[in-house]
């Protein structure tokens, strides 16, 4: 059994704002094995992005703070590491790409320079020439046509899809073991999305990079991920291999989510079944299961006790529910 690449244990990330304490991530635990693709799904405010930022220790502090838990990357708890050690880790052991590539790229430097910069930072002793060569190599890898020439171009000379590919190039330049992708294709057109996802899949297989893919799009998850964590109100409410999440979802939220999305492969005419109500206010104290107010299966126990992730009896499927499907 391969050793875990990433272990997140009881992670708690809270935001201390003037209006109250927002429990963005509230006791989250999961593991990732090397080379695995994990999908983290949920709607806005569920804590998926904050989880990713916490793993990278990029949470804006103040007002955010990781107040509890441990994040163990290849056996080392990175929450104990100092600032310098973290900058060493970011980019070489794990890297991240974001939704909007334009804000992650420096508009005044050309692309080749930005990739080479990362390489030089993490590979001691490498010369500028070699770093540049590696940059062009990476651009080729992410299928930017005419890589040698385009390495000298600036970010604004690339389209959205290409910029995202450049981001992937930067992120993978030093061969990290873990790539975190936070909604990487949400802002892209569907045909471009297909390109970028195919690329990510291919590269991850080729280099054995584990990918944590954060998204709200269940279709994307179905096509790229091996395991899925469904998050709601700062907790993981269901965790399972991808097939089981779709074929036999256990948590009512997952079921509700699947029932509310229009699908291309279904015939027209079936009315959507939306989930009633709103997600809860994370700055207020939540007693019991956070999904209780919207849950069609709610019972008295749900409003008093908070359920934790438990096996539901099929495969590696876990759900945080007292009355799973």
């Amino acid at each position: 059994m391969a050793e875990n690449l990433l272990e997140v244990n009881n992670l708690k990330t809270y935001f201390f704002t003037r209006g109250g304490v927002v429990k963005a991530v509230d006791d989250v635990s999961f593991v990732m094995k090397p080379g695995q693709t994990l999908g983290v799904v949920g709607e806005s405010g569920c804590g998926k992005s904050v989880t990713a930022l916490s793993v990278m220790r990029l949470v804006t502090s103040p007002p955010g703070k990781i107040i509890g838990g441990e994040i163990v990357l290849s056996g080392e708890n990175i929450l104990e590491k100092g600032k310098d050690e973290m900058t060493d880790i970011r980019g070489s052991k794990m890297s991240m790409i974001f939704q909007d590539p334009m804000s992650s790229l420096n508009p005044v430097f050309n692309i080749g320079f930005q990739i080479a910069e990362t390489v030089k930072r993490h590979r001691k002793g490498i010369s500028s020439d070699q770093a540049w060569k590696r940059a062009v190599e990476m651009l080729d890898l992410v299928r930017i046509p005419d890589a040698k020439r385009r390495a000298k171009n600036f970010p604004h000379e690339f389209s959205g899809g290409m910029r995202q590919r450049v981001m992937i190039a930067i992120a993978l330049a030093c061969n990290p073991q873990l790539l975190i992708a936070d909604e990487p294709t949400t802002a892209l057109d569907v045909t471009i999305q297909a390109q970028v996802l195919e690329l990510m899949n291919g590269l991850s297989k080729e280099f054995g990079t584990a990918v944590m893919l954060i998204t709200h799009d269940l279709g994307v998850v179905a096509g790229t991920c091996q395991y899925v964590n469904v998050m709601y109100a700062g907790h993981i409410v269901e965790s399972a291999p991808v097939k089981q999440i779709f074929e036999s979802p256990a948590h009512p939220y997952t079921v509700g989510l699947l029932g509310s999305i229009p699908r291309m492969d279904r015939t027209r005419g079936e009315k959507l079944t939306p989930i009633s109500g709103q997600p809860p206010d994370l700055s207020k104290e939540i007693i019991g299961c956070p999904y209780a107010p919207r849950c069609p299966r709610v019972q008295a126990r749900c409003r008093e006790e908070r359920p934790t992730l438990q096996p539901v009896g099929r495969g590696n499927q876990l759900a945080a529910c007292f009355y799973p499907y």
Binding site: T191, A194, L197, H216, M264, G269
Partner: protein, 335 residues
């Protein structure tokens, strides 16, 4: 869980809107004297018609011109050329006061739940605005109508003197829908009404729009980039690319048997929430990016990325023609 709604029960009538040769070109000014140096051909020759009571989905990726088309139909943007005939009235030749009068017949639902409501207006004031413009009653009467509308869209009418920032995205969209309904229009252009909403809220708003259509006999043009959503809500779908309509057909026909290569590529790119299907799918991956609408390719605008392209595609713009029953495609080699 899922209820069947009989789509045949929907009353689809005669043509309400007829659009011919619609063009919207935006000039790019440059040079010392501010001359027009180039044009953005956002919409470059669109023909279509919409029937009473139906939902026509207008779909395409960014830059295809779908939003501009929707606005041009409503005369929010002045078309550069073409005709828009609404219920017998030619909209493009109306004066601005004439257009303003027509506003009571045709309305719009906007994309941005945060930006489509004036943050300084209470929700009630935003919804009252159209009613006041058309003098649909005195203050008390208008307030009653506003409360009624809020109820119709599923919101508590007692919140009419609250401000937009106190509502969630989904609720704001409902307010926008209430505002669009205020004048009892027969036609609504919905411009990406659910794109900015969370998935579970999208479903709420989509259901609402369908119910309202049934209740009020509304005709929709539903502009969106999410093909799954469009398939769900539309009777017929038009696929746009670089300012042209590539394909126009009944929803089921379009998704089952797309004739235009672009539609085929588009449909193959959409992820489906089913890992088995996803694993087996053959994706058509298009090369390159969408060309700029300032300098669209000659002939068929899709030809540089089309795997079927031949010489004729580069030279002759294929017209939008009926290739099968009620199924139109603009392609020299459809199917």
């Amino acid at each position: 869980m899922a209820q069947e709604i009989a789509t045949s029960a929907k009353e689809i009538g005669t043509t309400l809107i007829d659009i011919k040769g619609l063009k919207v070109h935006f000039p790019i000014k440059g040079g010392l004297l501010g001359r027009t140096v180039a044009r953005v051909k956002a919409v470059d020759g669109v023909d279509m018609f919409v029937r009473r009571g139906e939902t026509l989905g207008l779909v395409g990726e960014s830059g295809c011109g779908k939003s501009t088309t929707g606005r041009a139909i409503l005369q929010l943007i002045k078309p550069t050329a073409g005709s828009v005939n609404f219920n017998g009235v030619e909209l493009t030749t109306l004066s601005s006061s004439g257009i303003r009068k027509m506003r009571s017949e045709m309305q719009m639902v906007f994309q941005d739940p945060f930006g489509s409501l004036d943050p300084r207006y209470t929700v009630g004031q935003s919804i009252s605005e159209p009613l006041q413009n058309f003098q649909r009653g005195n203050a008390r009467g208008i307030e009653e109508q506003v409360k009624d509308l809020l109820q119709t869209v599923g919101l508590n009418p007692y919140y009419f003197n609250r401000f937009p920032h106190e509502f969630s995205g989904g609720q704001r969209q409902r307010i926008g829908i209430a505002r669009a309904l205020a004048l009892h229009p027969s036609f609504i252009v919905a411009d990406e009404p659910v794109s900015a909403l969370d998935v579970s809220i999208q479903a709420q708003v989509l259901n609402l729009m369908q119910d309202l259509q049934g209740k009020f006999g509304l005709t929709y043009i539903f502009v969106a980039h999410n093909l799954s959503v469009v398939k769900h809500i539309s009777d017929r779908v038009a696929v746009m690319y670089l300012g042209h309509i590539m394909e126009l057909a009944d929803s089921e026909d379009m998704y089952e048997l797309p004739l235009h290569p672009y539609t085929q590529a588009l449909l193959s790119a959409i992820p489906v929430p089913d890992p088995d299907i996803e694993a087996k799918r053959q994706r058509i991956i298009l090369e390159g990016d969408v060309p700029s609408p300032v300098n669209p390719p000659s002939g068929c605008v899709f030809h540089p990325r089309c795997w079927k392209a031949q010489a004729i595609c580069r030279e002759v713009i294929p017209p939008l023609e009926e290739k099968q029953s009620n199924h139109y495609a603009a392609c020299h080699f459809p199917g």
